[in-house]
Symmetry: C2
Subunit: 347 residues, 2 copies
């Protein structure tokens, strides 16, 4: 097992430990119809639909990995960042459980979502519990940190949560609005996606005891990485191949999602093209023919190239920040590899 795997295993242990502790001290015991903590285990890939223990894909744990590697690359012991990594992954999964309710998404990671199986009301509870558990995981870092660092970490963690929620508020509002500016779109992903990668990189370096200047570079590295990750995701939502993404090609067009390519297209389109698109968005379904027309417009207005260029720009920016922030060594190499993987990934 390499260092990375070992670090993630520690993260997983912290996640399991806070959940098990909560379960054993809880009021539920054997009683309830809904075994709350088993449902969380299901969501995290530790249990099947009948809540029996299994081990399936429950997320790639990219965010805790980022945190651990940044801690190491800043000269710290990644083991000290493991509870922070656990808190980050639990926080991320709390937002996913609630997002799935809000977006009416019935599947995630090829499995039914929590609300699809146990209903909305109990999925709200599951997300709320996961959020409280993320705070408890973060408090596990208390023993290895000076108390003012702990307070700083907790404040930033909850401010990060607010940014994520704000991003989700904005994203939901986009669905109801005819047009969205690029500025608004970027504000949205800065909250919804990049806030947590920003926190992960920053928190890893903080646990390592880095000076303020370096801390700021790690923070910006995490942000550029998160923005690039999201825009690559938007790229794949339109130009990803079925073999790679497991979704229909142009899935985001069919779902009329206001992702970056669409926002750019709406901004660039001539009046008649814009009217065509607006009319399309107001219909109940998007036909295959209409999808082909939108794809044609995206090419014609050079949107595909602009999106690719933006992913590459953010990739280079993150690379430069990484070189400034991190000392040469295996952790920096691993972060560079993670960055490459996220910017060029096909799933």
């Amino acid at each position: 097992m390499n260092d990375e795997q070992q670090g993630l295993q520690q993260v997983e242990q912290y996640m399991r430990a806070v959940i098990e502790r909560a379960e054993s001290s809880g009021i539920l015991g054997e009683r309830p119809t809904l075994p709350l903590y088993r449902v969380l285990a299901y969501h995290l890939g530790w249990a099947d639909e009948r809540l029996h223990p299994v081990r399936v894909e429950g997320g790639k744990r990219i965010r805790p990995l980022l945190c651990l590697l940044c801690c190491q690359a800043a000269g710290g012991d990644p083991a000290a960042a493991a509870p922070v990594g656990a808190a980050i992954e639990l926080l991320h999964n709390f937002t996913l459980i609630h997002d799935d309710i809000q977006d009416r998404s019935r599947t995630r990671r090829h499995r039914p979502t929590v609300w699809a199986l146990w209903g909305e009301a109990q999925a709200i509870n599951a997300g709320d519990a996961m959020f409280a558990l993320s705070q408890l995981a973060l408090l596990e870092a208390a023993d290895r940190l000076p108390s003012d660092s702990l307070t700083l970490l907790l404040k930033a963690f909850n401010e990060t949560t607010l940014r994520i929620v704000e991003g989700q508020v904005l994203d939901l509002s986009f669905e109801e609005r005819p047009s969205v500016s690029v500025t608004e779109y970027l504000a949205m992903i800065r909250g919804k996606t990049a806030a947590l990668t920003t926190f992960a990189a920053w928190a890893g370096a903080l646990v390592a005891g880095t000076d303020l200047d370096r801390l700021e570079r790690f923070r910006r590295f995490g942000e550029a990485l998160g923005l690039g990750f999201q825009i690559q995701d938007d790229y794949l939502g339109i130009w990803g191949r079925r073999e790679e993404t497991g979704k229909e090609p142009a899935d985001d067009i069919r779902r009329r999602k206001k992702s970056l390519p669409i926002v750019l297209l709406l901004e660039a389109a001539s009046r008649p093209d814009r009217e065509f698109l607006d009319a399309l968005w107001s219909r109940p379904e998007v036909s295959d023919q209409a999808v082909a027309q939108v794809l044609g417009l995206l090419e014609r207005y050079g949107v595909r190239e602009r999106v690719r260029a933006e992913v590459e720009r953010l990739h280079r920016e993150a690379q430069a920040l990484l070189e400034e922030a991190a000392s040469p060594g295996p952790a920096r190499d691993a972060l560079a590899a993670l960055l490459d993987r996220l910017a060029t990934r096909s799933v």
Copy 2:
């Protein structure tokens, strides 16, 4: 202005301060369709439906008052407990926003609920943001506390949240089940209602720097008070008068809520009475005649007296714990008065 009012005003200031700070550092600015933080202000009674500033009843702030008075009664400066009180009130309101979605409640405190006005998806966001804000309020106590007390406080705060969520999980599960035992019912209110009053009393005493033995008495005082409060609420849900509660008499029978009187009745009822009740519960609506029959059964099986006796027993228990825990003085008197008010209240 007396001490109590002054203390609650400080609590209110902390609540407003964390929300204003979050709003000004947030990504939303003037942009969104939904101004997240104004919606929270609406829920708390600081804004009207059009989100213009007003000052209406936004809750009685009983829990922060309990926290401040316990701090003072334990020999502490209640001002030190004000951020904790703010955190408690924000946490309480986060759970209310989510409960209203889960219970499909369209009004609270004579005003439309958040989800009724802005939809479920955004109400989930509002609750999530309120939860993160409650943590930030609690961190405002950091400056005035030794760091190990802060960690203890934060752990207990999040464990309390888990107990509240577990209580809600159990409560929702009751709706789908034919029978609920008294033990299960008590476990449910111990989580859903008493966990937060328990925390409030304990945290107030902790901030005062009380010894462990006294701390435990304050904790148990908060628990007895919370259980009594909830059972009195259940009493009023059936025998409260319209002039007092603003609700139909026997509202909980009409809503077929498995509150303590019903749980006791189901447990005590003879086979034919039990079959009558089960049949009633499976019908879409409860007629006035059926309500009268259930009221008759509650009298016949002595349930009304049993519920009253239980409220009085918890009242006496809380009084005794208060006398053991608190030194004589105005704070203890105020707590005794609060206790009397909660146990004999008619709304």
